[in-house]
Symmetry: C2
Subunit: 309 residues, 2 copies
Amino acid sequence: MQLITVGTVAFDRIETPFGVAEKTVGGAATYISLAASVFLDKMGLVSVVGDDFPEPVMQQLRDRGVDLGGLEVLKGKESFFWAGRYHYDMNSRDTLETRLNVLLELDPKLPEAYRKAPYVMLGNLDPTVQGKVLDQMEQRPALVAMDTMNFWMDSALEKLKEVIARVDILTINDAEARQLSGEHSLVKAAGKILAMGPKYLVVKKGEHGALLFGQGRVFFAPALPLEDVIDPTGAGDTFAGGFIGYLARTQDHSFDNLKRAIIVGSAMASFTCEKFGIERLAEVSREDIDQRIQQFVELVDFDIELVES
Amino acid sequence: MQLITVGTVAFDRIETPFGVAEKTVGGAATYISLAASVFLDKMGLVSVVGDDFPEPVMQQLRDRGVDLGGLEVLKGKESFFWAGRYHYDMNSRDTLETRLNVLLELDPKLPEAYRKAPYVMLGNLDPTVQGKVLDQMEQRPALVAMDTMNFWMDSALEKLKEVIARVDILTINDAEARQLSGEHSLVKAAGKILAMGPKYLVVKKGEHGALLFGQGRVFFAPALPLEDVIDPTGAGDTFAGGFIGYLARTQDHSFDNLKRAIIVGSAMASFTCEKFGIERLAEVSREDIDQRIQQFVELVDFDIELVES
């Protein structure tokens, strides 16, 4: 196993000003694994679904190198379901419904082959579950990245902080960075959050890009301006999957390589926004990604010679 | 004259979560002229003030190469006054009070020496006044840039569009680009706005940076993540002043040079945010600016080699 991912595998109902997807496959671990599979051959997935989850999607994951030995299938039960509606700006959304279903019973047991994985991605989930995954690793992984959200800051802050202290990289959005630190300035927020344990902090800003903080340095990657944003659901998870997949492939944890991983993750996230659910991500080729990375290079490239006084 | 600027010269009362400035010098033309003066020796300013406007500030402008022959001083009248309050996020604000005062009488008459200026910056102001400035130019300037805001889209859209059709570069924020075009996607919005006449569109996104569209290309510049944002008032005008000042100095209107001008403008705007009013901008040296531009280079710099499949 090169990477194991824990997170939701789910159904989503998504409303946007431009359309509705009634029941589409989603979940953090689904997006993360699909994105990481572009760079890796052998991944593990830790989650739980009901027996309503479609076998073709599971086969699609297996075909892309995702082992499902860690995916529990509960007979006669329903998979986690989330329904949300995006506002006109497509950058904010309301949750309309959450049916936890099988998620209530998620008590992860890692298959033997998962316990020595060098890379671990803790997708957004109850921090208690994230902690249990780390507890079962036989040795400290080479790199642990963690995603979370404001819900856990509101409901399980102490447990959340315990897990944050055990990871190398935390990814959250700008509002969450402000909430977690109590600082409005993202520079100050990053300082406080890095003091909680992680070596690096990635602040995701949706259509406004992402910031990487760590080692006293800061890097900014824009989001690609898109002609059409159809559905941003899973963009953050796709970002995380491309990011950790690239790191696991290159096995280089320097700041400069993390910058590259951010660009790769941003490029992949831009694809996810172009269609509903996992549809666009599942069809993306390495050539598509290379082309999009080139667009990022051009988007921010400038050379400047200062004018003499 | 290398550059002439029309815009407000005013007093501001500014409330932020971190403090209050009761009566500080502001106004679009003030910020634009101060910022541009870093690159230029001979500028003109077209505006109107009351005799309450402080002579030391006028002298400060003259000392920096800003000719005030176009600044009418109305005896016994009060200068334009604006009061605003910033929200906790410092990215949005409410206008608490606007006293137009002398601004109601602004009927610009350009001094002879202004009428052949190669660079013109139309600061945010009634589009009728912006148009009158263009009408008085003896020849088509080499470059005309224009700033405006949603207020004029709501109250004087047809007149605004007439002026937009006459300029080379339009600078507005992202909400305004969406309003003016009726398109949510900034890529589509840019297409529609460029079809109205300008060769280039600069979309200002405050703490989220700026986008440049034109010639079928797009460029993104981040805002520098600041430890403390004290007062963003005038940041957009400082950006515009640094931008047009750099262009007037280099006299190169290529897309690549506009990218540099965007970086210069962004660097200068970051200083304005560090203190109330014009205080920080007025003390900035060329060395400060060079150093900050270097921070922008480092902020977005990455090199990427794609991983072989």
